[in-house]
Symmetry: C2
Subunit: 156 residues, 2 copies
């Protein structure tokens, strides 16, 4: 499948699964060499999981299918520009490239918080709407040190 | 349990589960009124899931246990400042407050990408390291319109 066909598959999922009551109007596919290895659609309200965005679901399925926590060599196709959670997940999954159709502003116009979230993330922690409180840093550092000292650690 | 005790529980998970080979040195708990409703630790390499960060795992468990996609009224305690993926997930989960111990710089010093990711997210899509390609926007908008027109949609 070429890029357009893969993006259309994501768009089709965004409509079909939303109409079926699975969640918001978002679909995504992960592909390697033009072959789909993971499909996802928003399932926040149907699976009672606020992290079950289309891209996250597609990434998790692709990783299960490929037996790896890295999707290097794969690309993701999303019906809409990924929200910050999904964009960061795409980084962590080491995907090569993102293809998307609608934008964060289109999502905002449909009632989703993506655009506001992007604005919040650039603020320093103390300036964000969501209160963030730091303490006990000294007690958390030994785990970081132990990680660096762990000879058999699997990096990711 | 008070705030310090809850944060210490997250810190203990960060050490214990990392030493057990589950993944990176990160732990988190979600609590409501001082009672733990979800526990999480990094399981990226053990579960082959790049999205299985401590906070995401804790949020998913709390939602399962409470039977809701909203964690309004709950707070999250993380052994380390959340990465952008987890921070956005915390927003989507409607958590009231974040308590954390180590910082993004501590994570960076231990070899994790969090800090670079925060830098990337503030850039416009075209300026990011990860290539982003937009197309077919017109084909994606009907699903957004259909969502707005859906009388029985469940908002989240």
């Amino acid at each position: 499948m070429n890029h357009d066909a893969l993006l259309r598959e994501a768009i089709q999922l965004s409509m079909e699964k939303m109409l079926a009551g699975e969640g918001g109007p978002f679909g995504a596919v992960v592909a390697r060499g033009g072959e789909i290895v993971g499909r996802g659609w928003n399932q926040v309200t149907s699976s009672l999981d606020p992290t079950a965005h289309a891209e996250i679901v597609a990434i998790r399925e692709a990783c299960r299918r490929l037996g790896s926590f890295s999707l290097e060599g794969c690309e993701i196709y999303s019906s809409c520009e990924p929200c910050p959670m999904c964009l960061a997940a795409i980084h962590w999954a080491r995907l090569d490239r993102i293809h998307y159709a609608a934008t964060r502003d289109d999502a905002a116009a449909a009632g989703f918080d993506d655009s506001r979230l992007y604005d919040q993330l650039v603020l320093p922690p103390a300036a964000r709407e969501l209160p963030m409180v730091q303490s006990l840093r000294d007690e958390a550092l030994p785990a970081m040190d132990a990680w660096r000292a762990k000879a058999d650690r699997v990096e990711y």
